[in-house]
Symmetry: C2
Subunit: 178 residues, 2 copies
């Protein structure tokens, strides 16, 4: 068994990625503080062919050296928009027919693996590293999910949580991409 070379992985060029069919998943970054985390969202959204990232509030926007460093250039392939106010981003998504899911441990959140996906485009909100999703944004969500945890810490790193959630939602559909 040997490692595959980059050419053998059949990855898309940045230009082909932009033109390619995407999975109907949008990630909303509600005041993500760390550029490292923002870069990681780009890299993960690239891998799972997500439609778009919505960068909101204090979330940094490309081009920025520290985002590119972690994104490894995926900040040029994945589409993104910026909203000053996360609530406005979510209201616009809902008007466009998206089902909006907050990733947060709440009184009504469902475990990720038990969540039954509705048959419409999905937007998933990830909150600030310390404060999570803003309460007024949570109120706009159609549902909340949480990643079950059995350790000592409050939560996972937000980049890791995004990887798990986007993997869980996108993996069943990756093979159907043209």
């Amino acid at each position: 068994m040997r490692k595959l070379r980059l050419q053998e992985l059949n990855r898309l060029s940045t230009e082909d990625f932009r033109l390619s069919a995407k999975l109907p998943f949008v990630a909303v970054l509600d005041n993500i503080r760390s550029m490292h985390n923002v870069g990681s969202f780009f890299r993960t959204a690239d891998a799972f062919r997500c439609e778009k990232l919505l960068l909101c509030g204090i979330t940094a926007q490309p081009p920025h050296r520290d985002i590119t460093k972690t994104a490894l250039g995926a900040d040029r392939s994945v589409a993104w928009d910026y909203f000053t106010d996360t609530g406005n981003a979510v209201r616009a998504l809902k008007q466009d027919g998206y089902y909006v899911i907050g990733v947060e441990q709440t009184t009504q959140s469902q475990p990720l693996q038990q969540f039954v996906m509705p048959n419409q485009p999905i937007a998933v909100i990830f909150g600030n590293e310390i404060d999570g999703i803003q309460s007024e944004v949570l109120e706009l969500c159609n549902a909340c999910i949480e990643i079950p945890q059995a350790g000592t810490k409050h939560s996972l790193n937000v980049s890791v949580a995004a990887g798990i959630v986007l993997w869980h939602f996108c993996a069943p559909h990756l093979s159907s991409l043209p």
Copy 2:
């Protein structure tokens, strides 16, 4: 719907975590360069109640400020050992009855979601951020898995990959923990 307070999450204390039943999953870090990534492994292994981390080669060991910063203290809950040579760590795991899985895109790797878990303790190897798993370590693996990807980049961030793989393996068993 409101966010849960830390007390409502029923997290374990560090002392209780150490004494608690663990899931039979060991993560092997083969020359992980970034302390941020090492810290993230601790935080993820804590959340999914993994048995142990094996830090190998150039992988930094706690206590270190930069590991603790990302681990948020999970470097005190999760058990770990250090091996100078990753091959020696893997040979010791196999002697102890572990089935050893490399996370790497190889000529024989299986997609994560198709991998059928054997009924024995599992060790999962994650490789260096640039070079992946060393070839001589790959040769010792019982199997390789890969996370299917449909973007422009070679791979996911290793912390994100670890989150996805450990989630995929551990999630079905978390509810059975005493």
